[in-house]
Symmetry: D2
Subunit: 113 residues, 4 copies
Amino acid sequence: MTSEGEEAAFETGIKFGSLYHQFAGTPVSPASAGSLETAMAEAIENQPHCVDVTVEILREDLSAALADGPADYAELTGRFLDVEIVIEYGETEAVARMEMEDGYPLMRLVSVE
Amino acid sequence: MTSEGEEAAFETGIKFGSLYHQFAGTPVSPASAGSLETAMAEAIENQPHCVDVTVEILREDLSAALADGPADYAELTGRFLDVEIVIEYGETEAVARMEMEDGYPLMRLVSVE
Amino acid sequence: MTSEGEEAAFETGIKFGSLYHQFAGTPVSPASAGSLETAMAEAIENQPHCVDVTVEILREDLSAALADGPADYAELTGRFLDVEIVIEYGETEAVARMEMEDGYPLMRLVSVE
Amino acid sequence: MTSEGEEAAFETGIKFGSLYHQFAGTPVSPASAGSLETAMAEAIENQPHCVDVTVEILREDLSAALADGPADYAELTGRFLDVEIVIEYGETEAVARMEMEDGYPLMRLVSVE
């Protein structure tokens, strides 16, 4: 009723939604960005079928946002994130990315093969 | 590079991961279960391609868990949840469910067609 | 080693931090704001010593933010929230509010008496 | 209307509620516990008045819980956590801890002075 490619894509989506809604809102500064990147990747890599998670917190964008206001930290949100997730399900590998498009973070399925 | 079915499955997975990791940990009692069910469903239905979300908080299981301890509320977790999500992507409809299997909550892609 | 007023204030702070970091990031639209307000209030009212929680999602500010972009929902954040929490601890009542100050949401202890 | 001690206690409570409800539900294994501890501490230390946060994920309790089931990771919850937070507000220092009591995690204000 479902193909292996669809199952792989479903698992990839779960990981993206999990990563984003678990960690969005976390207080983050340029100094703490490194430990948060590592923790996010290692947390989601625990989930089934998850082969690799790469999280980059965009320090320049974060610093630019902080320069506009009185606080020295921000809440983590999609505009500060570049994420890639790789899933293996059976013989199929799926890759997805979160990237900015028209100023909005977009989760995108890159390939299923 | 990706089929419409895979895209639909990916979107369905995103909604499941979002729903679970946004609301897991929420303080919940039998009395507050109804408002939380409604809010969870309506929140996720805001997301793109999401046609229908049904959330049931399992009040009997929740009450049984509370009977064992000193607190009158619990943190929301998968053992108290029955969820169905329906996505439409192009001409394709995908359905996924979260259900208990061997005592563990499992997110499962039911159909893509 | 701690006074009743300090304990009341501590409990009030816990509720504020809980409410904010549990629900920040939730997808919200003007249409779903009502169910989310109710669920947030009822969830936190489950916690010990919590007498009353009032949550208002600022629909005008939310609509204005959505008018600037392509999406028809936003992630819940402090700029869309007006919250008041009342705690009773022993004979002491503590009240706290979240309100905007200089464009930033600020959690403020209003009274302990 | 509020004392410095009450303000310090309020800030301490905010940090505890934030830490708990931001990170509860995070997938965690003995192997990923270290990066999550560091990220949790550094994230909350960004918040105002927060001098020191110590997070210990109880690996023995986590391993014991995993030995009972089919999964090799768990969702982070209070039974796996030992946390201490130190706040300075004006001339006042407040310390709070989360510790298990009767099998339930309890947030406790240790001292305000």
